[in-house]
């Protein structure tokens, strides 16, 4: 029983981690290449979930909804870049934090206005309903496995893009040495727009995929955003590889901590205080892990920038 529970929670953790990675990848690229801190990135995740859900309802097909959500979130990202972010590249981080905070307030409220504040339910697509028997007596939802697979595939594509294409080489160059981009004669305006759009689409994809397994509601992007920040701080800002490993780590710690600690605490405490202490320590665990890692390596596990 315990081993099975552990396996299920570990899979949940990995699956949550991969979603975190899809959000964190855009964040770390945007920061690495443009030196812009974008709080509104979580909003893209929320928009992905809402757009995916609405488009699925409108077309009657989850898959069509997911497919259409990609260009839709891309368009949202590009629009935001043109309206707001473009004007923030030469401003300090404080201005970027506040302007993107304003974007969050606006879009969270806009979503409430359009879709209401009640959570939206999205049905699991029929094709992926049901579960898989991983071992005797242990069923795991097929859809969650599909998220894991899709996330890994996207991560693989992203890796190919960053490591093996010219655009990727520019991204890496930009993340480790920004002035070099201009020296190479790169049209930074277009590159930034591209990176921003790509990041927005990745986050939107994560949101649309996650819609059937969590409640789609206003502000859902905020908590993901903060965990994505933890991910890129731990992974080393600007590093996609670091973000990947840190995302899996954070996903595992978050899910395992919250689910297992209350039980573990019962070994030393009475049930009621054990649940209390377990729940509060479980929710703090990710941040404690971050503090420990930073105490040893202030620049994260895989710092992208030299020097």
């Amino acid at each position: 029983m315990t081993a099975q529970l552990l396996l299920v929670q570990a899979l949940n953790g990995l699956q949550f981690g991969i979603l975190l990675f899809l959000v964190a990848a855009g964040l770390t690229l945007v920061f690495g290449v443009m030196d812009v801190i974008n709080l509104a990135h979580g909003v893209q995740y929320m928009l992905g979930a809402y757009l995916g859900a609405s488009l699925a309802a409108a077309t009657g097909s989850f898959w069509l909804g997911l497919l259409l959500a990609l260009p839709a979130t891309l368009a949202c990202g590009l629009l935001l870049e043109l309206l707001v972010f473009r004007h923030l590249y030469d401003r300090d981080h404080l201005a970027q934090v506040l302007a993107t905070f304003g974007v969050i307030l606006t879009l969270n409220e806009a979503v409430t206005l359009l879709w209401g504040s009640a959570p939206l339910q999205v049905a699991t697509p029929a094709l992926l309903e049901g579960g898989v028997t991983l071992m005797p007596g242990l069923q795991y939802p097929l859809y969650r496995l599909a998220i894991l697979a899709a996330g890994l595939a996207t991560a693989g594509l992203l890796w190919l893009l960053v490591e093996h294409t010219r655009a990727g080489a520019l991204l890496r160059a930009g993340a480790s040495n920004r002035p070099m981009l201009a020296a190479l004669g790169v049209d930074t305006g277009r590159l930034f727009l591209l990176v921003f759009g790509l990041g927005a689409m990745l986050a939107g994809f994560a949101g649309a995929m996650a819609a059937p397994i969590l409640s789609v509601e206003p502000g859902m992007g905020d908590s993901v955003l903060i965990l994505a920040f933890v991910v890129i701080v731990i992974g080393g800002i600007g590093s996609v590889r670091g973000a990947f490993l840190a995302a899996l780590l954070v996903g595992l710690v978050e899910v395992l901590g919250r689910s297992l600690l209350p039980d573990l605490m019962r070994l030393v405490l009475a049930p009621s205080p054990a649940r209390q202490a377990g729940a509060s320590i479980g929710s703090m665990l990710v941040y404690i892990a971050m503090a420990l890692i930073l105490a040893v390596r202030p620049r994260g596990l895989f710092p992208a920038r030299a020097g």
Partner: protein, 316 residues
């Protein structure tokens, strides 16, 4: 110096206005509540200014200090300790301790990582508060009563509370000025401008920044003590990261250049929110774009607005 006297005129005017407010037709209950809230958030914004404007570090987790101050009141209230002379120092101490502990880690970084780490620690405090079932968890905690002061129920009195908030805000304002002008503040300001230069004359910025962060935490804890007493209710939403963002916006809206900007920004934002709230329940839909526009166009904050307008007129 005339320049510094001119700089002192506006704050004196504002504080005098606040002192006179109850007798200028603003003595109604809801207005007094709003003003008290404004002064308390002004105190919280002032403490954040010490970190952002004074030390040059952008913190996005400051609401945690405010909330910890408020939860210190809750914890003591549950233990039936309501004497302000005990509760307020406890609130200050708890928040300062949290600031020192998290600051010790966060200050190993600077710039964007610092922003993210303070945000993460703030979130940690938020989740912890939400999981404290014996203090109401998500639903929050209603105080049995406001704190007593030297055994007397002074804080129950609306005027008394108004002047307590004003006195603490003015005192904190003066303290910030003195602190920034002192030897300590000079090192802090210098490290904001050029950390390498500061090290080259023999100072490591770290302990100065950490202490400033701790002091700011204590001040925010005091604001939390007042806020808990003002609302007689404390909830995890006090620590929400949106609150941290709001505090940061207050500091910028007023103008980063002076502590007065933080106080002004707090009052301005509160009045703006109140005004927009009367227009529509979806007031955030208006506030958000205003916030973006303020960042893009109001570069010197409200304090710098006259100069900015004069400059625009001259150039355009």
């Amino acid at each position: 110096m005339p320049a510094s006297r001119r700089a002192a005129t506006l704050p004196l005017l504002l504080f005098a206005l606040l002192a006179a407010a109850p007798f200028l037709g603003l003595g109604e209950g809801w207005m007094m509540t709003l003003l008290a809230r404004g002064m308390i958030l002004g105190l919280a914004a002032l403490s954040l200014w010490l970190v952002v404007g004074g030390a040059g570090l952008v913190s996005l987790g400051h609401a945690a200090m405010l909330g910890i101050g408020a939860y210190a009141v809750v914890a003591l209230d549950e233990a039936r300790i309501t004497e302000a002379l005990v509760v307020a120092p406890a609130a200050i101490g708890a928040a300062a301790l949290f600031a020192l502990l998290t600051g010790a880690v966060a200050l190993r970084t600077a710039g964007v990582p610092f922003i993210m780490i303070t945000l993460a620690f703030g979130q940690m405090a938020f989740f912890t508060a939400a999981s404290l079932a014996f203090y109401g968890g998500d639903d929050g905690y209603t105080l049995y009563a406001r704190s007593t002061l030297a055994g007397g129920r002074w804080l129950e009195n609306r005027l008394g509370f108004h002047y307590l908030c004003l006195a603490l805000l003015a005192g904190a304002f003066l303290f910030c000025h003195l602190l920034l002008a002192s030897r300590f503040g000079r090192v802090l300001r210098a490290a904001r401008e050029n950390p390498l230069r500061v090290q080259a004359v023999g100072f490591s910025p770290y302990p100065y920044r950490l202490l400033a962060y701790g002091i700011a935490g204590g001040m925010a804890g005091l604001a939390g003590f007042l806020l808990a007493n003002a609302t007689e209710f404390v909830a995890p939403s006090f620590l929400a990261w949106q609150r941290s963002g709001e505090l940061l916006f207050m500091v910028i809206l007023g103008g980063l250049g002076s502590p007065f900007g933080a106080v002004l920004g707090a009052l301005a934002l509160l009045l703006l929110e109140e005004g927009l709230g009367h227009l529509t329940p979806h007031w955030r839909l208006l506030l958000g774009p205003l916030l973006v526009l303020a960042v893009l166009f109001l570069r010197g904050g409200l304090v710098g607005l006259p100069a900015q307008l004069a400059g625009t007129r001259r150039h355009g």
